[in-house]
Symmetry: C2
Subunit: 245 residues, 2 copies
Amino acid sequence: MAKQNIYDNETFFEGYKKLRDNKINANNLFEIPALFSMMPDLKGKRVLDLGCGFGEHCKQFIHRGAQKVVGIDISEKMLEVARKENSDSGITYINMPMEEIAQLKERFDVVVSSLAFHYVEDFSGVVRSIYDMLDADGIFIFSQENPLCTCHSGGDRWTRDENGKKLHLNLADYGIEGERESVWFVDNVKKYHRTFSTIINTLIEAGFSVEKMIEPLPTDELLQQYPDYKDLFHKPDFLLVRVKK
Amino acid sequence: MAKQNIYDNETFFEGYKKLRDNKINANNLFEIPALFSMMPDLKGKRVLDLGCGFGEHCKQFIHRGAQKVVGIDISEKMLEVARKENSDSGITYINMPMEEIAQLKERFDVVVSSLAFHYVEDFSGVVRSIYDMLDADGIFIFSQENPLCTCHSGGDRWTRDENGKKLHLNLADYGIEGERESVWFVDNVKKYHRTFSTIINTLIEAGFSVEKMIEPLPTDELLQQYPDYKDLFHKPDFLLVRVKK
């Protein structure tokens, strides 16, 4: 099975880098705070970051006291930035698709993955590998696009009024799982849709206990500053899950 | 807090009874099979049915070997039918809102609730009472309207083509939890919307381990017989969850 590696595409990479350089985005406002709110005490812990990208989270884990961090990513271009901007003696960056992590033959206390799983076809296989690599009581935390997003192919699925205001999401094919093609800087970005119940059942079948789910929504305070994010009340962009071995 | 008791409304009751008399409906084709697929071995077990209605499930639990079944329902009219059509020496029917079950002071091995929780405002309180009434390793299984349904007030939320074919669901307000008013035989039927994550987190916070979620979808075989149910692939009607103490 060929793994998709859009992040090494030049156009994608430049578009993505620009997006990340803008600090006011849904990742920074919603996904990252929710992810870190679920994080256990990392002091002395061995942490694996799946789809680590530019390595910002890896560096943050070291700041929080992690003893050792391994960041893996399918994109060598992303890791070049990571090694330049977020290197540390405690961090090892490895160019590898996450479907192959069983090859690492290492043990971890915490596995984290930020916004990468919707690109993974074999979710169940990766989840089983994570379970095997975690020590007893190990924690696995991940974020992905919300299933209310991943169910759609193509671009915008909103119905808007004459002023462009989003009225509702045109929800279709939620119950049909599998590959979707979407446009994000480049054409034919492949994503994989799974329902809420498939995601949770896959984790449970691998042996995990579910500890928490988050679908981040804006606070009143945040809405006053960024009123456009009220659309998240129609459809949250993200889903985060914390499970325990 | 006054509990809603639409089932004692004459118009609602007649409409509902007629719906249930027709055996080809989404309950019989999707919800009931999913509910019973999650059921543990009931031999010798004490079972509590919350919102038991006409008592069909209570009778079924006795057929499956349950030692004792308690069926509670807020509607005395429903229980009159239950006592007439589904009585058994092992079944006790009690007219009580499920928010008050802590008063029962009984212990159970299995608690079941079929399509009643979307009428309950204090989900968290009821879940805590269920946890307290279950013995160790006790199982709690429930079905409710899918959160993709409960998020909407009013009636039909579909966008259709000129032939009436459903194109997509107009999904709005999924992230806004709480009361909704809908029309089902009568006006002002109150339902309560909760997101997938709130439902799961409430169960976990009460002390339960999540064992399985089901959002029932039609099989190919069923679609050949009832092709209209393909719309469930846009939006499943039900959510079922099984948890363990």
